[in-house]
Symmetry: D2
Subunit: 420 residues, 4 copies
């Protein structure tokens, strides 16, 4: 009997996962030119190339350099260029200037990836019993990290392309789809009895530290919608003057609406949008002629598709208009197992009415991963679910995504809840 | 037997309260010149004169105009000038420009106050059974509102005076004291068993809508400090490099420390502060020569006094440094009845680790008071307790004060908590 | 025969001048409340109180401290507070924060003035032969300096009052007038033959260093308008779409028009201006219902009065629209002696098409006066003439006033010129 | 005899010029990757690709569309994307967002160039007598325009590369050189007698409208340096505390020094510059260890090379420190024919002490070229000479280059002058 069998098998499995995740990043970048991969359209977004390099740096800095004897970095300068925010790992290139890095080129970044991949795979191949748990944990964290950046890669490049008045498509319609699937228009309220409920990750399988510790909360009885708010729903809110009625909005939200001139979701184009002239998009469509920019370029609005690219402010204002409210993150989590609930994940992340606070007893992971989640726990709101840009297998019902309330370049929408 | 007796008595009582609160506002302004009362030192602060006028406008707009036949406004233009943020009550003077209103003068604002006081007292004098509950509720709300502005008046004028390099005193040391009382240096941990706990206002007496509905929460066992963190404690944090260690700070906090050049609480002056030359303050003092600006001007730091004028970011970093954490607002509320707990109120508001979210089932008050609290429920943190600038009788253990995490011109400090 | 007679007489004369100028500053502040005198409505403007103190500081810092044995400063901290921009005299209070100085009070500033006046007059009383020329030169410079601040005091307080939506009047209509006198509507072109022309100050009497050295320039023949552009003229420019036609504007000017939303001179109010509702000004007037804010508050536009509160950009655009151009500063100076020319001074400063560059051979005054003019010689335009706010006897045809091209809170207008 | 011969010859000559200029633009872009060509490092700079497209658009919009029957635009959307600032030609893509145009790609822009080149050459091939003068004038203007952008292309990409902490080289040292030639260290003063001097373009050959009309000016006698200020000279200014002495600076200049933290020219690296660690540049060099970033990357400072990448503020401060001044643009022009004068062009543009004002009698060109020069005549300073990045044959002694006083990403330096 070979006691190493299980370890070798685990290492093989992990290597397969590693290859799949790493390959998926490159596949996401494949439709993009070198220029597309270089630019940064706002400080909150990062270039495609930067995502490809930063996720690689993560493996280099957290796995290879501390855990591999004799590892030779691909280029020591990359340590400065591609650190994101880890204070413990030294100074780094300023975030708003990531788009100024025309060098290294896309080709050099791909070579960087190959160099690191080779070293990681070699490390997995020599896995030994003692070191394995730590190696496995870091690789798992690195892959989850890369999956998060895969979603950001998509949302960031969409933002960049949305800044081009020609509104070019990220990928052709014949490619793998990121479209938001339409759903039946009818909406049903599902009832939850409330009471003492367990929330948070129960262990077994990967989770981030912010999902723990699992703990009990008390919920009042509530109702939650079985489906997401659709574009058609949201078009009614706009048509009813939703963006002109301060009583529907949180104070900061209303200030943002006025300061930014918002009058629809980030990627909707009204029929009088001057970019449509440049774009040459035919009119047509429904719901009063709205067009929507997305992964396949500009398309007529689909009334049944979930509304997306919404800020928390817009989600909350819509809910107020609809005579409802957003669910808390715990209501959402409790409702995720209700029979009949639909569109939990795979469409849009769903804003909740919960600020991103630590769970009772929360402690960050030790080491540099301590900076992963906990230090962002102020000024942000929790989103639950998962989107069409979330890699398969990445999300789970206890997953806590988070963004500031004005962010609206993500695949973000909402689901209604209400008191009983 | 006179059935009106109770109503007349209630009206008399309320009139006394009204007179006392209104007089207190004028007393707070008494040490200030007309110039002092006019300026606005930052968009978040308001001029003294504006506070005096705005609190008066509140009674005029919410009580007198809707509920008094034939009431003649003092000056119809004041409706525009002194509305703060009530969208339902029409357009208003932009907040950052409040300091540009040299007219009306302080004397005119006092005349405005007298005009409104006369009308309110007349209304109270004619109280009749049917209208009374509504009148009483509005007057109570107006008085609570004025008390909130009394605290802001003090913190705002302190900020204004702190911008003068001569650092003049708000009031002389012989006047009524706003000093933070010193406490014994020893600190004890008080234990709370956690479990199912009721929080929120139980009814009976005034409360704001954001304290309701009363509801149950589940708490884990925890320990909480019997006293506030003192200036001496905080000076150790500074001396230990607290403002230079990113690992202690939330990400937004660290960014603020660097962008603003923070190296101590807002009103502390290091021995090398150039303003001390202008001020002529003698050195002396303790804790490495810190001086502190406050209501009586510049004074040597008192090690036993509670630290004040802290942002949430600083409070959280201190707690991290101390190997503890901030209590949640519910832990604070539950602990407020623990035997041995000290300095609950009357010193500084205490930052909690709770974002300012709505309570389950929260509904704003009807009418214009709907804009009072609910619309600010995003991006802010809850503070509990009460400060030396909080008017007597205003605060209570269920009271939820709130400010953005970077705010530090308030009487704000902290109390530690920790897991068991 | 008494050899001291002429010196004593000169000293007496200068003392009279000193008293008159100093008294005029106080007279200008007389209509203003303490609050009015304290605020600063934008970084480019200064509070009335600051002007009163700064002009006093100038005598203290430049005359009394270096030239009077045993002079005791009124308050040594004022040296920091009221230095404007003299780097050689040490650090100073930041310009944008002048409005935060509620202390010293107006009364203290008046006491400061009296203290310095007493010392200056004493110094003049003991004038001795050797020191006299230097003392006289400094006093003269100090008085000219104060006269410049007298004009700024008026324009700055008007700007401050213009920020109050009630648009209060600086002084009552019955007080001493600062109104712009109307002139006959007809305009005549005056011809100048050009050629070799002397410009700059010829000596004899006071001048600033920037008017020297006197030198020759070559002018081409040109024509210049005998009068200023009037409000009626300018209203036609507006009515003809002047603020909507980029072809009329310099590039920076057009960018400013769009960024600031300019559609008329700074103090004009269109009939639909929301402030008119607050102000309660009756309609009436002429030229399409424009109202104009000025020293006496809001008045209907007077078509024959010179247009004022114009930026250089607007002046240049108007000239382009009128098929003319602005005169150069040398054309203006040469034309100032043409028979028939009107409104040279006493109405508005007149923008010229000359950048504020040094004259050939220009050297700044020695000592701290070196910082008076020369260091501002970039990025500004020359204005010639003098305004209704310029103190009597202050301006002269060689006087070079200067402001950045976007400035429009001064009494600034234009006179047309054209090629022959 | 063929009367068409001269026209055909002229057309042939112009076509050769056209081909040479157009090819030079592509040659300048040749060392750059697609990513390099896409980014915009500040609003004042433009991407390489944008320069390549905009200069092409100029021929399309000004020549082909108005003057060629049946011309088919390459892509009608480019009219919006690549208009720079011509208000008469409709709305345009905002300048600060030029770097967001990843599409069209570099390849598409090259195809655009080829398309337009073919049409222009065809137009030149069918030149007919009547239309020729206008066609020739527009092509000449278009080529001069493209040459101006060739210099900007180089300075803009240098700025972009300077924002990369690795400080990559624009071109390898073995390529065509853009290095600033060193000159002998000795400097001689050349005397000019002053008097009546003709300035401006005399006709015959191309000139821009801003060089006309030619006219007489009066100059005082003056001396001018026979060579440019060198890096070694400038290093002495720095070593003598030039960046710490406000008395040397114009007021706006000193404010800029402090706000931007300037302590040396834009592309100098002090020995303690953190980028040197990333760059790996060896120390060495001279003049206290300065390194300089340029077209060939980072090199040790060459003491004899002209100082470059200076703002006007720095040039004027240096001159003040040296006990001299900058020449006026007319002194420069008059001195350009003095025997013994060196480095007039081919090294750096030379800041003059002249604001960019219109010449007496200046009228802009008719048509859209009216927007070429005149509308920028405010707030800028004149530079004379020509730089190592100026295409051969582009500059001439009457040429008026202009930039705002704080600009310092150009090849800009200075030459001293002084009074006699």
């Amino acid at each position: 009997m070979n006691p190493d069998r299980p370890l070798a098998q685990a290492a093989d499995t992990l290597r397969e996962q590693y290859r799949a995740v790493r390959a998926h990043s490159l596949a996401l970048a494949a439709p993009l030119s070198a220029e597309d991969q270089c630019i940064q359209s706002m400080p909150d977004a990062s270039p495609t190339k930067w995502h490809l390099a930063h996720t690689t740096w993560f493996f280099e800095a957290v796995l290879l350099q501390p855990h591999t004897h004799g590892y030779t970095p691909f280029d020591t300068r990359f340590h400065y260029l591609f650190n994101s925010y880890y204070e413990a790992l030294g100074p780094r290139h300023p975030r708003p200037q990531r788009g100024l890095l025309t060098r290294p080129s896309v080709d050099e970044v791909r070579a960087y990836r190959a160099h690191v991949d080779e070293a990681v795979e070699a490390l997995l191949g020599r896995a030994v019993e003692g070191a394995w748990p730590q190696v496995e944990a870091i690789v798992m964290l690195g892959l989850q990290h890369e999956q998060q950046h895969q979603e950001l890669l998509v949302t960031d490049i969409l933002h960049a392309l949305s800044c081009n008045p020609m509104l070019p498509a990220y990928r052709s319609a014949s490619g793998p789809s990121l479209r938001l699937a339409a759903v039946p228009a009818s909406m049903r309220w599902l009832r939850h009895a409330g009471g003492r409920v367990e929330v948070g990750h129960a262990g077994g399988g990967f989770s981030f530290d912010n999902e723990t510790p699992r703990h009990e909360v008390l919920l009042r009885p509530f109702e939650i919608a079985d489906r997401l708010v659709s574009c058609g729903d949201y078009a009614q809110f706009i048509a009813d003057g939703g963006y002109q009625r301060p009583d529907l909005w949180l104070s900061d939200g209303w200030a943002t609406v006025q300061a930014q001139g918002w009058r629809c979701p980030a990627y909707w184009l009204a029929p009088d949008d001057p970019r449509l002239a440049l774009h040459g998009a035919g009119g047509g469509g429904n719901s009063a002629g709205w067009q929507v920019f997305g992964v396949h370029g500009v398309r007529p609005l689909e009334a049944d598709a979930p509304v997306s690219q919404l800020s928390f402010y817009e989600a909350a204002a819509y809910a107020e208009w609809a005579g409802a409210r957003l669910p808390t993150e715990f209501e959402w989590e409790a409702a995720s197992s209700l029979p009949g609930i639909r569109q939990l994940t795979g469409h849009v992340w769903q804003w909740t009415r919960s600020s991103y606070d630590p769970y009772p007893g929360f402690r960050p992971l030790p080491g540099i991963a301590a900076e992963y989640n906990g230090k962002f726990m102020v000024g942000q709101l929790v989103l639950r679910g998962g989107s069409s840009a979330t890699p398969d297998g990445h999300a789970r019902p206890t997953y806590r995504n988070f963004f500031p309330p004005a962010a609206r370049w993500q695949f973000t929408g909402l689901r209604l809840a209400r008191e009983l």
